[in-house]
Amino acid sequence: MLRTQTLPSYSDAVVSQTTEAAGVGGFTTVLAGNDFRWMAAPALLFAGAMIAFPFGYAVWLALSEVQLGSAPRFIGVGNFRRMLSDAEFWNGLYLTLLLYVVSLSFQLVIGTWLGLLLARFQTARGLVRTVMVSPFMLPPVVVGMMAIVILDPSFGIANWLLSKLGLPPALWLSNPDTVMFTIAALDTWQWTPFVALIVMGGYLSLPHDVFESAEMDGAHGWTRFRYVTLPLLGPTLITAAVLRSVDILRFFDIIYLTTQGGPGFSSTTLNILAYRRGFEFFELGYASAIMVTLSAIVFGSVLMFARLRRAAAW
């Protein structure tokens, strides 16, 4: 019990419960006594081969000048120094963070609203869930192609609908000022149902007596949501935020399909920039440096949410 309180993370709680279930000197002692640790070797090897080696190689490339056809030449932090004075990098970083903040905010807010609505929705729940799953089951290529066709300013159905409503046509993906918001909207359309399903699952697993007590104490509507539902949903929302953060920060396919980073550089996020530098301009060392930096941002965001999760645990 004391152990669970001092280290209230999920993994430790599981270890604690497992230890208790096995009795004093239980499972862990059995493992240590018979030295079964070698059984973890395949998993460690797999992790090493599939995660550590590629990442280590990317770091090595990031610290090297790579000429096609020849071995990388170590240049230390040269690529990172170049990055600091590269306006395209700073533009890419700004756009990546803009997309992250806008998409994640919309997905969490709309996803929470939709998830709570669904949790109370009784009619044809299975059908509604199936329909909701369909956007994020679509491959990004399909979503990208749909966006190209629907949002084309000349022959897309989106502007046709606007004209029927008496509204002026929009440039959607072709306007440098709105392109990132259009892309954020596409990602939000595709992934909000995913957040909604997580929220719905989290909400349905909450203890009902808390809500009953809140009702009896006079907490209704917004007050109940603000002071009861939202704090209880905190860990669930943070889990959803972690999953979406990783995905949004490495968002590539739809942007490349629809705009290739344009117009100008107005949708050249760090992923697009790294791809172009690496595979179009053959600067693999510099592209790796950009990707290592982006990976650091992803790790940073995951760590931040992990800390938040501990703070929001109840």
Partner: protein, 433 residues
């Protein structure tokens, strides 16, 4: 019997001794019978046709060919990964040597075809390398090394709707400067008719824009080899291309490449464009376009009289890491042979061999529709007068083209005047030299 046998054996051995070297000199399609080669292609009418025809190659040579086709982005990413990793899995790949040839050559990714061509035992007698268009051969030659064989010939051509021009009583543009005038006249004649479309994405724009720059008297390089986009003629061409897109282009033109342009032309939403000859087959599949379109090389500048179109071609190369180069070489010869190219014309692939253009099959096909003849004439002309250079001198070609396209975008977006955009581009281009 035994005497005859002994005599026969001696005679046979003698015959072998005499005929052996001669036989080794002779070309035989089946020397690599039983081999399997791996081919990686970019998605293109040529590669689609190859997939249908490759069984003929196997029947002729006994070599099995496994084809992988990817869209261009995936193709380039996979190619770079395989070649950088020194993989011997891939034997033959498509390459746009006018774009990446210098970089790939420096990386040592191409097998040298010159020794294979010179070896009479490996090369078919009627191969005739000089039959291929000179500009494409030049783009695939580095020093004495020949790195690839051309598989098609292409360049941007001027397409215009003859019916709209007639309806609006506008003459067919005879000079480059007639195009903006015709655009204004069409807009005045029919406000609902789209006028112009062209490429707007940075990296792919110079291919379509180069003709405007050259014909206006400009160039991508100064006489002393420095970036030349800010020369007066270059600025004029840059300005004309940008203004056509800004004033008469469709909304969202800066995100357009050939796919959107062809769709707009095919659906009848625009009256003119300057787009790849390669898309001809796709354009005439749309209803009525085979009858109401005109096609020709971009008109020359009125005062300059210059007509210098872009002419490039995709090629096929053998990987330097391939362990099956003789079998791969047989594939290259078969795929670029007169017989195969004559068949490929039916799939809309413009042949890079002059003899195929002059052949009966091609002429019979071209005669069926006037627009086919016009297209063929335009291709013959760009094969004769075209250039594969449409960027300032550098071997970082994709990056240079990106910068040049960026100058056009800056003008269209109103971020810079043509002169300012050209000067800024030249400064960036100078860093690539």
């Amino acid at each position: 019997m035994r005497k005859f046998g002994l005599f026969g054996s001696v005679l046979f051995a003698a015959a072998l001794a005499v005929a052996g070297p001669a036989a080794a000199q002779g070309f035989n399609w089946r020397t690599q019978d039983g081999q399997t080669i791996n081919l990686m292609f970019n998605n293109h009418p040529w590669s689609q046709a190859m997939r249908d025809m490759v069984a003929d190659f196997t029947a002729k040579t006994g070599i099995k060919a496994r084809i992988e086709i990817f869209n261009e982005e995936q193709f380039r990413a996979r190619l770079t990964t395989l070649m950088q990793g020194g993989s011997a899995d891939m034997d033959v790949y498509m390459s746009l040597t006018s774009r990446e040839g210098a970089v790939f050559h420096r990386a040592g990714w191409y097998a040298d075809l010159a020794p294979l061509m010179a070896d009479k035992s490996l090369t078919m007698p009627d191969f005739n390398y000089e039959d291929f268009a000179a500009s494409i051969r030049q783009a695939s030659t580095f020093g004495k090394q020949i790195v690839a064989l051309p598989i098609n010939q292409e360049g941007p051509l001027f397409y215009w709707r003859k019916d709209i021009f007639e309806r609006c009583k506008i003459a067919e543009p005879a000079a480059l400067e007639d195009i903006p005038a015709a655009a204004a006249a069409i807009k005045a004649c029919d406000a609902n008719q789209g006028v112009w479309a062209a490429r707007g994405i940075r990296g792919v724009t110079p291919y379509a824009m180069a003709g405007f720059i050259y014909n206006s008297g400009g160039s991508f390089a100064t006489p002393d080899g420095k970036p030349g986009l800010s020369q007066p003629g270059s600025v004029r061409g840059l300005e004309m291309y940008s203004n056509l897109l800004k004033d008469y282009g469709p909304p969202g033109a800066l995100n357009h490449t050939f796919t959107q342009v062809i769709e707009l032309l095919g659906q009848g939403r625009i009256a003119m464009t300057h787009e790849s000859s390669n898309e001809f087959a796709n354009i005439v599949r749309f209803p009525n376009r085979a009858n109401d379109l005109g096609v020709k090389v971009l008109p020359p500048g009125r005062d300059t009289k210059i007509s210098k179109p872009v002419a490039i071609g995709w090629t096929v190369a053998i990987s330097a890491h391939s362990k099956r180069q003789p079998a791969a070489w047989l594939f290259l010869q078969w795929a670029t042979s007169r017989e195969v190219q004559a068949k490929l014309v039916q799939a809309g692939v413009a042949p890079p061999r002059a003899s195929v253009f002059e052949g009966e099959a091609f002429n019979a096909w071209a005669k069926e529709l006037p627009i086919r003849r016009a297209w063929a004439n335009a291709l013959i002309e760009i094969g004769r007068t075209g250039t594969g250079v449409y960027q300032s001198p550098t071997d970082r070609i994709p990056e240079a083209r990106d910068i040049i396209g960026g100058a056009m975008q800056a003008i269209v977006q109103g971020r810079a005047t043509p002169a300012e955009a050209a000067r800024a581009a030249d400064a960036d281009l100078a860093k690539l030299q």
